[in-house]
Subunit: 343 residues, 2 copies
């Protein structure tokens, strides 16, 4: 296994946070690339394309940092790091189908059918390849943790679909959905890192809880970026959630503090997402402090993430312990990063 | 675990073939039903709906018959039988998206988006739940066999998509595609049945090879039914393959025996699938003996399936051996059934 392939898109801040596991992350990247090679040119082209889709490599980094903070990165981690990225990429590929469907309702493109077919199958190919790779370990534990997490991701996505356009979605339901659709895979990555570093169950649970809280903070920040982020930095069109009356935390915070008549007014604006109405909603979110409150919730979850592992920080000492200390420090700082990113 | 739930749609002939494992099949059905129960009503409704989608329960039956022919059905088999059916159902759910896409190009239905989103996620939910269930065994071997087979199913489907509308698809490529998209999961079911009955590797390989050959025969028969079957018996519209210039074995047999000028004529008919042209193609397939040749190929594969396991038939003797003998006999007869079914 070579380490010549640098992780795909790492900005400077992330590169610094991932420094304690930079070599391992490059190895994971290389493994990912080689796993997705296929003798059939069509499948190879698709798989290699998917490999370039995802960007930050957050999930394998969480796995490797957790492993490193608990002890040493070993062969099991090196197998599982590309697995979690492959699963994440599969969900992205299938998410694109969902988004594309919306576009297609308005303009049925010539190759819509081909793309749709291929995207469904490519996502399935990535899911099943990830499971196959995980099953190459000596124990079914990796498959079990990944199977449960990916199943929860699907549950979260299904619940989100079911609640689509529901102005009355409760705060608890929103948090339940993002816990499943986003946090479960972050938690899974951290749990795998700790579990296969052979630490006690309490430590494994602490790293899993770190991942859950970090994932929830990450998703709230993502939902905030949809409203207030800079389009170019985010690399996608903004205000998508508002346009589809998707109730994310800022809107929920606003709605729950309004008098009934104002609440009806907000609902009308949400259900008639003209450009003018979208601007009014954004101003309302800003002026009412709803954006700030949602942001505070993200900060609280990030704080909770750090809280879970703060007592597990090894002291600086010999080389091995220094390495663990640095990885631990990166996880702490990562919690801060995910709520302050611009993309 | 109760056994009160009878398998979904079994015609009399199949019920007779499945008789040696009837109780175990009912147990698998019950397990499938309970595994797909969910506390969230929306997910529960979808999962239960998918549970009613598939019909013959061929794959769990192959697993249980193989297990029974090799020894005794045990707890591992009882876990894996619903797993293979869940994987099969996931592929059916995603196949429906592919088919639906074609319909939608012509008539974009009101709830197209909802259905599309939900179908992608439901298929993913079933895939991941199946893997999670497989990972509950003590060994990763089940996950490994299932992961590899499902990955091959996806490969086959992707290759089929890539060759869609390719009049020049070779006979070998066609066989390679159906080996992957259909036979891999049948082979997987038989392999799991034998593997977890603790027989030697040679016997496991024989049952796997039986499943491969049976699966290829099954798919050729399915492709024949698309051309010559009775629509009501098949429960789906006929001639779909011809309409989409999908090269299945009868067409390939015909094409490969034509002189260049006739071949061009056939290609023109295929590329302009008017009702009149479809009738001309069907008559041509019939008159040229291409349907008969394709049918003979299915018979040959079914014969190969039986060949793989014929020396492994236990003699009738005490009760346990009699049970094994009956299961073995059912597998032999099943090879005949799949090429003579009308749906």
């Amino acid at each position: 296994m070579t380490t010549q392939c640098p992780p795909a898109v790492l900005n400077d801040r992330l590169a610094k946070l991932f420094a304690p596991i930079a070599t391992e992350l490059a190895t994971a990247e290389s493994r990912l690339r080689s796993e997705l090679q296929h003798r059939e040119p069509f499948i190879n082209e698709l798989a290699q394309h998917s490999f370039r889709m995802s960007g930050k490599r957050l999930r394998p980094a969480l796995l490797l940092l957790s492993a490193s903070a608990c002890g040493e990165v070993n062969e099991a981690h090196r197998t599982l790091a590309p697995v979690v990225e492959m699963v994440h990429t599969a969900t992205l590929v299938h998410d694109d189908i969902l988004d594309e469907a919306v576009v297609r309702r308005h303009a049925d493109t010539v190759n819509a059918r081909w793309d749709n077919q291929t995207s469904v199958l490519l996502g399935d190919y990535l899911f099943t390849h990830a499971f196959y790779l995980a099953s190459s370990l000596d124990t079914p534990l990796g498959c079990r943790i990944i199977g449960r997490a990916t199943n929860r991701v699907c549950e979260g996505e299904l619940l989100q679909t079911a609640s689509s356009g529901d102005f009355h979605l409760s705060r608890d339901s929103y948090l339940h959905i993002i816990d499943a659709k986003t946090a479960a895979l972050c938690a899974c990555a951290c749990e795998l890192g700790a579990q296969f570093a052979d630490v006690d169950n309490k430590t494994v649970a602490a790293f899993e809880a770190y991942g859950t809280n970090l994932g929830i903070a990450f998703q709230i920040a993502d939902d905030l970026l949809d409203i207030v982020g800079e389009e170019q930095a985010a690399g996608k069109s903004l205000g998508t959630d508002l346009t589809h009356c998707k109730m994310t935390l800022p809107l929920i915070e606003l709605r729950d503090r309004l008098a009934p008549s104002e609440r009806n007014e907000l609902q009308t604006l949400c259900e008639q997402p003209t450009q003018e109405n979208l601007v009014r909603i954004r101003d309302w979110l800003e002026d009412s402090g709803s954006l700030a409150r949602a942001r505070q919730t993200a900060i609280d979850y990030a704080g909770q993430a750090v809280e879970q592992i703060k007592d597990l920080c090894p002291s600086t000492g010999d080389n091995g312990t220094a390495q663990r200390h640095q990885a631990h420090q990166s996880l702490v700082e990562l919690a801060n990063f995910v709520i302050n990113r611009s993309a």
